[in-house]
Symmetry: C2
Subunit: 562 residues, 2 copies
């Protein structure tokens, strides 16, 4: 059996290796446009940032062998044609025409099964100045090498990153670790679009605290040059940001060209369409990785999901189906993303509130929860979690988390919950690995479940920081109640006209509360656990309009007085 | 409504606080035998070990307030009677007789709803010498203070810990961090009984590497004294281990005495029996925490589950049911435990192989998987995972993990899988939070799922290190094939007669392989990924009896030549 694989990065290399494990006698050939194979491309930012300096680590096995053509040949008996581009698929003849990029020589390769792993291309806007020296993307090994050189040789003191998505933020981490001053230009009103605005804002605040300048609602209009080199970025608003480096990271587009030219269907967003077995409508052609559209298991939409882990998993699925017929399904993804930036971890899975509303969920319930991620005596770090559930069924729909604490563990749990289609009720009493080095006695994830359950049952009426800020801006008639201690108040405070009554004094100082029992009261503390206790008390006093500002000061994304 | 709560540690204190949040007008009283309330008892080892020295951190809120009687009174309007013992429940009269321990004064407290949170007592064997000075347990705040003093004042250079369960190992961490030399005496053939033998052995090896002496299959026969103080422990085998401190940690027993005397049913293992609402057969009496028996969701057995997180969750459930009638269920636990000891994390959830067999599962499938927990360039740490599934249905039954890497995240995922009753097939393509700081592109958890899936489908025939060792001991006719590189081989090797053929040379060096195609071949490498590739190749060569030593050298629990 001849298995031909176009693309040798994540999905392609994985498919090739797995086919070999399943069929020693298959003739396996990879056609790879670039010079490298099986690159750990998610590691580029850490290479650029100097977490490590040996580029070969990006193409090494855990045992330290370099995954180059001779490795694939010797160890796996896989022929890898690097620097070679697939130019045409002939489905009737079952051949692919390949062109060696340097020599231009073409050859025709036959296949019994063809795997398309053609990846995605960075989207590059039609900006004046896009050809200037110093304009880059971060997609290929060559990009990584270029940016590494810029950082090491200190060719740029200032960089502008156009686009604040996952790759933009990882680029920010990379260049920032390398000592470059960064401005992010983002056309939306927030970075990290898979997060809700206020969660993204917490990440923005962290970045700003590390010296990164973030311009939201800002479009790049021109890359300004000087002597053929980048000198700055001019925004649509007319501001020019001086810089010597521009990295464009506004997203990627599935590379479905070959497939399309061969008459295979691609989806609305350009990705190759496949069934649950990652098979195209041509039963001898499979596709995997950034070039396909797959099912979002939460929304059931088919969309590109250009993630390294998904590409590897799909490659493994394809290999099994190529060898044995369609025995393995790739059901889809739940939409999990994470990144670490200057010590802060940010991630999400499933639907954000914004996405849920866009998907037509009109009866959702959310909770925002802030808390230390382990006991104080174990060196706790803060963690803010936002959860989304369907109010009717209680089905868990998604979670986002931001903080210096262990975000990855809680996101992994949330992803498991989505895969298992769990409801809030299923997660109220989770039996998790608890010991003080790892979590509070009730893990933050479960605490967040408890908050959403309390709200669901009407035991707590929550209000988001965003809504509170809106009320303040609208000069709404609301009594803001801070129930922390005076020492905490002296250190940091909202400064929005709130009244301080420490929780322990609340029962004895009811004279400080509004006379009007119908007056809207919003209680909070640092994380709003005490705020919640205060609200419970106030309700028992007959106040009919008491709410808790969810997540307290820790989740407040706006400037504070102190 | 009068709510009376007996016990003010985890479940009791949580129930009290939650009742207050739900009902401002309830009269809430806690009867607490000891002096302290709401202690973070899982933190004792870290206090003793000097991770922190301020004892008050164990009884402080995240905001730094001490949870003492006046805190409960002022902040929560809860009356907490400390140093007070409940001596009798009169169910007909709905009263509890309480005795102040110092004064001996008795009082009678009335209740509408009673919550039993009487905890568990350490089991103390009838050993000669048990009353000597220097014999301790680690259960109460007083115990923690005593051990802290011993460590700080260097009263003991050597300690013997009797019992190598979770608490024994945490005590080991505590005393070890404090500079005490430790011997663990364990009557079973392994420490940490919730793990399978070979996984526990990996933890034992780690402890031994840190200077801890572990005697398994060893019973303590006598605590030897000198002038009223501990001088050593004599084992049943006749060995005397000199020491100045003995900590007994052979387990705890639910404290169901009061309930039993009041005519309430207790289970076979001494825990109070409750329904899914944590309600005893007396509808006005609830129970929670270490004193109850609850449902193991995997085995459906009812058993004590004396864990701090479960106690807190149960306390929350009880409070809701006390206030609103039975609106919240505690369905049960899946059996998750974790501890950290000298940098190594060890844990399990669900069934071990041993437990599964004891439960009557005769058709299970296991996988042992070893791998770095993130890319090498991000500072990976090793992680060994063992998974158990039912072969017939594919249902996931449990997981254990040991290593310097992030065990907690993978265990949390496994616990979610058990709560969601997921099968192996459900977890082959999980969409997890992947970025290089957090995991390999395919997370170790999913890798382990892939191994078990490969075995399940007959694509891989695995053999455990234990089985391999047995074969070696039996001088079985087996060809052991190490497929690592020569440099790795020079550094560390099994030394059991294995033949080294690096994977990359295997296809060209088939002459080094056995002539007999039916000969049993066991392939391995460091983690047995290359071992698996070698096995695939050998099978394709017509060898009919090829197996992979699961987890490779990293999971090998026995001494090696090098």
């Amino acid at each position: 059996m001849r298995v031909l694989i176009i693309g040798g990065s994540a999905a392609g290399a994985k498919a090739a290796s797995k086919v070999r494990r399943l069929d020693e006698h298959a003739e396996i050939t990879i056609i790879q446009k670039g010079r490298y194979l099986s690159m750990a491309s998610c590691g580029y930012p850490y290479y650029i940032g100097g977490v490590f300096d040996d580029r070969n680590m990006l193409i090494s096995t855990p045992a330290g062998d370099q995954r180059d053509s001779s490795f694939f040949s010797n160890v796996k008996n896989i022929k890898a044609l690097v620097g070679t581009e697939a130019v045409r698929i002939d489905r009737a003849e079952k051949t692919v025409t390949a062109r060696h990029r340097e020599s231009g020589r073409e050859s025709i390769l036959m296949y019994d099964k063809l795997v398309l792993a053609t990846g995605a291309d960075p989207i590059f806007p039609e900006l004046p100045g896009k050809k200037l020296e110093g304009v880059a993307t971060l997609q290929s090994m060559e990009d990584a090498e270029y940016l590494k050189k810029v950082v090491v040789e200190r060719q740029a003191d200032n960089a502008v990153i156009i686009g604040g998505g996952l790759i933009g933020i990882e680029t920010c981490e990379a260049l920032g670790l390398g000592g470059v001053k960064i401005t992010i230009v983002e056309k939306e009103d927030q970075i990290l679009p898979f997060l809700d605005w206020e969660m993204a804002k917490l990440a923005e605040n962290h970045l700003a605290g590390k010296g990164v300048k973030i311009l939201t609602n800002a479009a790049a209009a021109e890359i300004v040059g000087d002597g053929g080199k980048v000198a700055g970025v001019r925004t649509a608003a007319g501001e020019t940001i001086p810089c010597e480096l521009v990295v464009v990271s506004i997203g990627v587009r599935p590379n479905g060209r070959l497939a399309k030219e061969a008459g295979l269907r691609v989806g609305a967003r350009g990705g190759i369409l496949v069934n649950r077995f990652m098979q195209t409508e041509d039963s001898d052609i499979y596709a995997a990785g950034d070039c396909v559209e797959v099912t979002n298991l939460v929304t059931h939409a088919r969309q590109p999901w250009p993630m390294g882990d998904a590409a590897n998993l799909q490659g493994r699925v394809v290999a099994q189906n190529v060898v044995f017929g369609n025995i393995e399904e790739y059901e889809g993804f739940v939409g999990t993303g994470i990144c670490k930036v200057f010590g802060c971890t940010v991630g999400g899975t499933g639907l954000s509130e914004k996405m849920a509303r866009a998907e037509g969920y009109s009866n959702i319930i959310t909770s925002t929860h802030a808390a230390p991620d382990k006991p104080g005596f174990m060196g706790a770090q803060p963690l803010v979690i936002k959860m989304i559930a369907d109010r009717t069924t209680g089905r868990f729909l998604g979670m986002q988390a931001v903080g210096l604490g262990d975000v990855a563990k809680r996101l992994a749990m949330a992803a498991m919950a989505l895969h298992g289609r769990l409801s809030i009720a299923d997660m109220v009493n989770l039996d998790l690995p608890y010991a003080p080095p790892f979590s509070p006695a009730i893990d933050n994830f479960v605490q967040a479940v408890h908050v959403i359950e309390n709200k669901w049952r009407g035991m707590m009426d929550g209000v988001s920081c965003v809504e509170v800020k809106q009320k303040l801006d609208d000069k709404a008639d609301v009594f803001l109640l801070d129930v922390r201690g005076p020492e905490e108040y002296a250190k940091e405070r909202l400064g929005a006209g709130e009244v301080l009554i420490p929780l322990g004094q609340l029962r004895s100082k009811t004279d400080l509360l509004p006379k009007d029992k119908a007056k809207e009261i919003i209680a909070f503390c640092k994380i709003s656990l005490r705020g919640y206790e205060a609200a419970c008390f106030l309700r028992s006093m007959g106040y009919t309009n008491v709410r808790v500002m969810e997540g307290g000061l820790m989740a407040w994304p706006y400037p504070r007085l102190k």
